[in-house]
């Protein structure tokens, strides 16, 4: 089933949670709504589910307008952030609930519930109460419960937010496999970029009630449409610079920027990801040696601190003549070869950069 959201707005008192949001979710896609707290992602999810009603806008399911339809009649499966399991019912009864309220015959209920218990790998635990389960198990019960009624779309509100890191990772992979198996259209909300990227076919980045960008994980990461997207996804160094004649200048170093061919200089912000900066040692005569052996335009800096985390080493540098920090991510074996030490002189060169011209909405 596909979902089309058109111009949805929603306010809670004076707070505008959603501002004219439009979204298309094709059939069978696993979509992530990604954004910080207050971005409106949960509100949007709940509106799709029918647990909130929009102030303006419309929602369509397979072309049918369902904006006024009650949650009960929408055939959605909703998994709540804190599971909302029925605490006085057993696991079996929890999963069976949707079937029981539809007066499904007892045998059919039993067959379906046991099928789901197998699916979520909780066979034998049907008699337990939620309080006797771990967080990860409760989450799986919540999922099974939502799937029991054979919904047309599955909606998950921060499904793994309340779990330990290790359990989170396991369940993430399991959910992806489940989706591949069942192929149900699914939308989930998260503020964890890693989770969104690992799980989703497409990611919708939201901020302040608006959609900043929608696309595959690669697309939004490599080609961020706005500074917010760039800053939110992964780490970034931000600098003042200027653009002129098809080039952006960062600390005097030119970067190709054909989007601004004008002769008149303008202020710009230059966004550089730590792993898109290249670090090289400074030769004896003070000139930088680029990776390809040629002297290239680069910035001299001093190493302040080196911090290794696994396969990546983060180098904190201070460019000469400046008192701000630049972060550069270098593969750890390269860092080892360079023998980076605090106080060492290095040269930084941008491999890739993103430039944004300042405008009122580009404030981070």
């Amino acid at each position: 089933m596909s979902i089309h959201v058109r111009g949805i707005s929603k306010s809670f008192g004076a707070f505008k949670a959603l501002d004219g949001v439009s979204l298309d979710v094709p059939d069978g896609m696993l979509l992530a709504l990604l954004g910080p707290s207050g971005s409106g992602k949960t509100t949007l999810l709940r509106i799709i589910a029918g647990l909130e009603f929009p102030d303006a806008g419309a929602i369509e399911e397979d072309g049918e307008d369902i904006t006024e339809r009650h949650a009960r009649a929408r055939e959605v499966g909703f998994v709540f952030q804190h599971y909302a399991l029925f605490r006085h019912m057993s696991v079996f009864e929890n999963i069976a609930f949707g079937l029981r309220v539809r007066r499904t015959p007892r045998d059919e209920v039993r067959v379906r519930v046991e099928e789901l218990l197998r699916l979520v790998r909780l066979e034998g635990l049907g008699g337990r109460k939620p309080s006797q389960l771990s967080g990860g198990q409760r989450q799986r019960v919540a999922l099974a419960r939502a799937l029991a009624i054979r919904p047309k779309i599955l909606l998950l509100d921060e499904p793994f937010g309340a779990l330990d890191a290790k359990v989170r990772v396991e369940l993430r992979q399991w959910l992806r496999r489940l989706h591949d198996e069942i192929g149900m259209t699914s939308v989930f909300v998260t503020h964890d970029q890693e989770e969104a990227f690992e799980l989703a076919d497409e990611v919708v980045v939201m901020n302040h009630g608006r959609i900043e960008q929608q696309g595959t994980p690669e697309a939004v990461f490599d080609h961020p449409a706005t500074p917010f997207v760039m800053d939110f996804l992964g780490n970034v160094n931000v600098f003042h610079g200027r653009v002129e004649n098809g080039r952006a200048y960062w600390h005097g170093i030119p970067i190709e920027y054909p989007d601004y061919p004008h002769a008149q200089a303008a202020e710009a912000r230059v966004y550089l990801r730590p792993h898109e900066l290249e670090l090289s040692p400074v030769t004896g005569d003070g000139k930088a040696v680029a990776g390809d052996g040629q002297q290239a335009a680069s910035l001299r800096a001093q190493v302040l601190r080196v911090s290794r985390s696994g396969a990546v080493t983060r180098v904190f540098c201070r460019p000469d003549g400046s008192d701000v920090e630049v972060h550069v991510d270098v593969p750890s074996d390269v860092a080892r070869d360079l023998q980076l030490q605090p106080g060492m002189a290095v040269a930084i060169r941008p491999r890739k950069a993103r430039v944004f011209l300042p405008g009122p909405e580009y404030v981070i």
Binding site: F12, A49, G50, L51, E52, H70, A71, R72, V76, G77, F78, F80, Q81, H82, A84, L85, F86, R87, H88, M89, F97, G98, R100, V101, R102, P130, S131, G135, R145, A146, A148, I149, G161, A162
Partner: protein, 303 residues
């Protein structure tokens, strides 16, 4: 002087001070509560169990009074339970203009003197009251009759069930009920299958308290009943009537039955509170294992 004893409780008071205070507390509770309570039973059975039974069973007016209490109180409590559930659902699950006013109004019966409550009912339903002529024409009797007793008793016990349910329902939150709705449950199914199991102990607690209050109500019932012996005297009124007639042993006998019921109430209350505390602990533990995100009550507005 170093505090004696390992338990934290003894700290801050010291052994001697603690003992003295404990003795004082026991004396206070003993003198104010235990002695009178014991005295009721002792005086009731002073002339033996035979006389006690005779005082209750042989006197038709007393028999009627017992029967009246046992019919008026449960009806009043049943009405209050229905009201309590409806009001708690409204207040705990929805936000709407006038909500705070409603909550304050529910508390009013607590602070109004029962005599004032009874008087206001007489002013409406009495012969010279607002609806007096209408009722007389219809041949309905409210004041000096069973319906009046039920009304008066319902009034004074009105807040009891609601006040138990609202905190519990707010603490649990609406998420389970929302989940039920998203799974396709109708309103009645949501209430019966999800809400009621979650509030059953709080509900029972409220019912027990309301029942105790209803059976013991004096002032409001006194005013609306006209205290016609054998017709509209409930047990507390019977106690007073016998007292006025200087029939102390009989009065004590009836009083002892009421006191016995009170003790049963207390035991039931104690057991239920045990369960309530256990559930509150479970709730806190479940919340603690999740992250510290606050729960939400609903942002509903009247459609």
């Amino acid at each position: 002087m170093a505090p004696a004893g390992n338990s934290r409780r003894d700290r801050g008071t010291g052994r001697a001070g603690g003992a003295a205070l404990a003795v004082a507390a026991v004396a206070i509770v003993g003198g104010l509560i235990v002695v009178p309570l014991v005295s009721v039973f002792v005086q009731a059975f002073a002339e033996g169990a035979g006389h006690w039974w005779a005082a209750l069973a042989d006197d038709p007016d007393t028999r009627h009074a017992i029967w009246l209490t046992l019919t008026v109180a449960p009806v009043a409590v049943a009405c209050n339970t229905l009201f309590g559930v409806a009001a708690a659902w409204l207040v705990a699950r929805f936000r709407f203009p006038g909500r705070s006013l409603l909550i304050s109004l529910v508390d009013v019966p607590f602070s109004v003197s029962p005599v004032v409550a009874g008087l206001s009912l007489v002013l409406i339903f009495g012969r010279q009251g607002l609806l007096g002529p209408t009722l007389a024409a219809l041949g309905w009797k409210v004041i000096f009759s069973w319906p009046g007793l039920v009304l008066a008793t319902t009034f004074v016990t009105l807040p009891l069930v609601v006040r138990e349910l609202i905190p519990v329902m707010e603490a649990i939150g609406p998420e389970e009920e929302m989940a039920a709705v998203s799974l396709g449950a109708t309103g009645w199914q949501v209430f019966w299958r999800v809400t009621l199991p979650n509030i059953r102990w709080a509900l029972l607690h409220g019912v027990v308290l309301a029942n105790a209050r209803a059976m013991g109500e004096f002032g409001a019932v006194y005013v609306v009943s006209g205290h016609i012996a054998g017709v509209t005297d409930t047990m507390p009124l019977r106690v007073e009537k016998l007292f006025q007639e200087y029939r102390q042993p009989a009065s004590m006998a009836v009083a002892s039955v009421l006191a016995g019921l009170a003790l049963v109430t207390l035991v039931a209350k104690y057991v239920i509170e045990h369960r309530l505390e256990a559930e509150a602990r479970d709730l806190a533990r479940a919340r603690a294992t999740d992250d510290a995100a606050p729960h939400q009550t609903t942002g509903e507005v009247s459609p």
